[in-house]
Amino acid sequence: MDFEVLWRYAPSLLSGFGVTVMCWGAGGALGVVLGFVIALIYRLRLPPLRWLLRVFIEVFRGTPFLVQLFLIYAGGPYIGLRLEATTAGILGLGLYSSAYFAEIFRGGFAAVPVGQIEAAMCVGMKPIDVLLRVTLPAALIAAVPPIVNMLIVLSKETVVLSIITVPELMYQMQTMAAETFTAFDAIFAMAVFYWLLVESVSRLGRRLESRVTAFMAEAARQA
Amino acid sequence: MSAPMIEIRGLGKSFGAHEGLRGVALVVGRSEVVCLIGPSGSGKSTLLRCINFLESYDAGEVRIAGKLIGYEDAPDGTRRRMGARNLREMRREIGMVFQHFNLWPHMSAMRNVAEPLRRVRGLDAAEAATRALAMLTRVGLADKAEAYPSRLSGGQQQRVAIARALAMQPRLMLFDEPTSALDPELVGEVLEVMKSLAAEGMTMLIVTHEMGFAAHVADRIAFIDDGRIVDEGPPRRVFHESAEPRVRQFLQTYHDRNSF
């Protein structure tokens, strides 16, 4: 590994990392919010709406992320959607992950023991209160581990963004590799970097998971 | 005089700091039926599982028909753990019936019974099938031979489990709360099979909560509390005239809950 080359390209690599983190954060946030909204609307039990959402989820879970990106970035202009690569990347990550998050939230709602809801209703709580005080807290607690998991998966998907020329880390790395003929070293460094990143984020995620779950359980108890 | 079927002397077992069994002594003669009763956590199951060495014990000894199980005496006089092959051979002679049946879900009732005959006793497929069918008939389930455990009721599953243990022609049988996991109305069919086994002269050691069954079928009752055998003797004496306060207290709560 030629460290001189690395040093020269440090600024662009750092900027690339910044773009990676930004895309991951923005895409993830978009996905979680959108997924949550979808899950909520799904609960309204309106058949035509449900069907529409079902199609959305099946399409975004049943097709490769790369193809979705191409559709948005290359195909977008043909339906009036002219986006910059990075924006397209964030939108892509958001839509792609929202389908998964929607299913995660759905699972969270399903995991709430029916007995708890029945107890709340028997005691005379209004439906909106049942939702806010009983269903939602329990559902969110159940959803935290799979959400953390999905966010980790999403962090790995950001490398795909390089294919549509988003200037994230992988893209900068490949530029450096092409300009300095250090392809192997560059990709090796990338592999090691991502491995360490994902491993440490996973461990952090697990710790965060137990903390958040404990916190939310406590909050629910006090509510 | 031949050795008793089961001989337990000074048995001890610790789980870390907690002493599960201490100084347990028990003798079960041939064709005897002994029921172990006592509160939960008293060590009944642990004791039973030490007999076929599913649990290891730390002190004392367990002898099956005179032969030490789990350990063997080395030539230099010390005692060491029994080898795997010897242990397997001894286990073949001991039948065990579990609380949760432990039938293998990917095999039919027939295959559950025949598989040990094939793999452990070395019978060929035809012989094993014949013997298995005979055993299933013995427990009244010949018509369910091809059924899978998921299609059988709890009582039927337990009877298949008994057939599986019985098919090996063991010298004695251990029962670990055989009816505790069953719906009340299915308990009877299992107890009937066990009664008939006793009548045929099978040596049986049964951990159970079924006091009625114990009172009528057992030759002896042993009461365990906190890792020790507190009282032991014929059912009439233990159930009605026990000198031990702990036994009387246990039976009292039982009576209170069960007479209506």
Binding site: F188, V198 | S150
Partner: protein, 217 residues
């Protein structure tokens, strides 16, 4: 919107779909062998073997597939090994999938109720026999639904091998897009093929799960 683009390229897309399926099947099969080996290593009583297994899973789940594919490609190029891109692609998919499959198998083994092994031991089965007759058959049954799911994921991941030039579904869609200047239709076409295959697989998965659940209930 010019749907006739999709119609005209239907033949190419079908052929490409076949390539995608073939690559994915090869990848999952090889991945199973790797996954089984890694799983056995992780369960080994030899600490060093278990560690190697653990590191394998950590590395091949942590490194993104795209990075892995390019790594294999450049690795082989650097050391002058002339391996066709196809082999590199399948190898990459297999190495990655192997890590996930080993975890699936590990979970399946853990899910088998211990009482069943105990009954076998009490009857006098040897350790090997307990494995062969009781634990392994059940573990395989339990792992089928998650393995089908893994196959669906692998199929989608295979779209990344387009970057090493293999003429699978994504690459062919890209080609159609650049030839016809109609990326929307091209990618909708490609996506539809992926969707059709995945819906079929999902149905298969649901069917298998129901049948297996009935057996174990």
């Amino acid at each position: 919107m010019h749907p006739q683009v999709i119609l005209h390229s239907f033949g190419y897309l079908t052929q490409a779909a076949g390539t995608t399926l073939a690559i994915s099947l090869a990848g999952i099969a090889l991945g199973f062998v790797i996954g089984a080996a890694v799983c056995i290593a992780r369960l080994s009583r030899k600490a060093w073997l278990a560690r190697i297994g653990g590191v394998y899973v950590s590395v091949f789940r942590g490194v993104p597939l795209l990075v892995l594919l390019l790594f294999i490609y450049y690795f082989l190029a650097k050391f002058g090994v002339d391996v066709p891109a196809l082999a590199a692609a399948i190898g990459g998919l297999a190495l990655s999938s192997g890590a996930y499959q080993s975890e699936i198998l590990r979970g399946a083994l853990a899910a088998t109720p211990p009482g069943q092994a105990e009954a076998a031991v009490a009857l006098g089965f040897s350790g090997v026999e307990v494995w062969r007759r009781i634990l392994l058959p059940q573990a395989l049954r339990i792992s089928i639904p998650p393995l089908i799911n893994e196959f669906i994921l692998l199929l989608k991941a295979s779209s990344l091998v387009s970057v090493v030039g293999i003429a699978e579904l994504t690459r062919v869609s890209m080609n159609i897009a650049s030839l016809t200047y109609r990326p929307l239709e091209a990618y909708v076409g490609g996506a539809s093929f992926y969707l059709a295959i995945n819906l079929g697989l999902a149905a298969l998965g649901a069917l298998t799960e129901r049948r297996l659940a009935g057996e174990r209930a």
